[in-house]
């Protein structure tokens, strides 16, 4: 499983997205599902920079992917602050615009677009595994 290392800064997001596009193409996802995986990875990496590292240029993001017969498995690793997943809340759509909160959207996107999301913390690393299966909705 090849691993790619990127500096933890927002400029890395477009480069990581290029790798995601290669992976989703290789796995054979349609445009909508591929877009969803790209979004999930982008949101996860943005969260690593903003929350785990507390800002840009404070650490690295390791990206790797693996394709099995039925799954695309993307792994992101960082050495930032230990991540504590919060409760994932669906955005409230029945509230007026002025009361509409836009927080927690990234995490919600990750869980909506991927089939499986696993968090782990081992040997000083946050390890996030994002899995997309073939034959599920949006593929």
């Amino acid at each position: 499983m090849p691993t790619f290392v990127f500096p933890g800064k927002y400029e890395s997001l477009a480069k990581i997205a290029e790798l995601v596009q290669i992976a989703t193409r290789e796995f054979g996802l349609d445009s909508c599902a591929a877009y969803g995986v790209e979004t999930a990875v982008d949101e996860a990496c943005s969260n690593i920079i903003e929350h785990a590292y507390g800002g840009e240029n404070r650490g690295e993001i390791e990206f790797s992917y693996e394709i099995t017969s039925n799954s695309l498995i993307i792994t992101l690793r960082d050495q930032g602050k230990k991540f504590k997943p919060k409760k994932i809340e669906k955005p409230k759509t029945n509230v007026p615009l002025k009361n509409r909160s836009d927080h927690g959207l990234g995490l919600y996107f990750i869980h909506q677009w991927m089939d499986e999301v696993h968090y782990d913390h081992r040997e000083g690393y946050n390890i996030l595994t994002l899995i997309k299966h073939k034959g599920t909705m949006n593929t």
């Binding site: 997001l13 979004t39 943005s46 920079i49 903003e50 836009d102 959207l105």
Partner: protein, 111 residues
């Protein structure tokens, strides 16, 4: 991300192309603030060539919409929204907050 701003008599059209993510969203926010700070609150965002928008970009859109709609002084409308972008807006629950037009001409005509 590329931004192309055209000022019309009744509204402003901003064509947003490429990727809007955490790296580029601040530039979009800055452009929209510049327009709103000039007292112009009727804005069309042409999303024909927008390839990708993350939650950081969506936050900019909703922030601009809140500002424009204050005191009923205007609004942000969207044109040429591509299917993947529409899915993201929908998932975020943002579609009820924006008028969406098939093309820029109809969007401009709304004002």
């Amino acid at each position: 991300m590329e931004l192309n701003h055209t000022e019309f008599k009744r509204c402003d059209v901003v064509k947003v192309s490429g990727r809007v993510d955490s790296a580029t969203a601040p530039r979009l926010a800055e452009k929209l603030s510049e327009i709103m700070d000039a007292g112009r609150y009727r804005i069309v965002l042409d999303l024909q060539d927008l390839d990708f928008i993350s939650s950081a970009g969506l936050r900019v859109l909703i922030g601009a919409q809140k500002n424009c709609k204050r005191y009923n002084r205007g609004e942000v409308v969207l044109a040429n929204v591509q299917p993947n972008i529409l899915s993201a807006l929908d998932l975020a629950g943002f579609t009820p907050f924006f008028k969406i037009f098939e093309d820029t001409v109809s969007a401009v005509g709304n004002f």
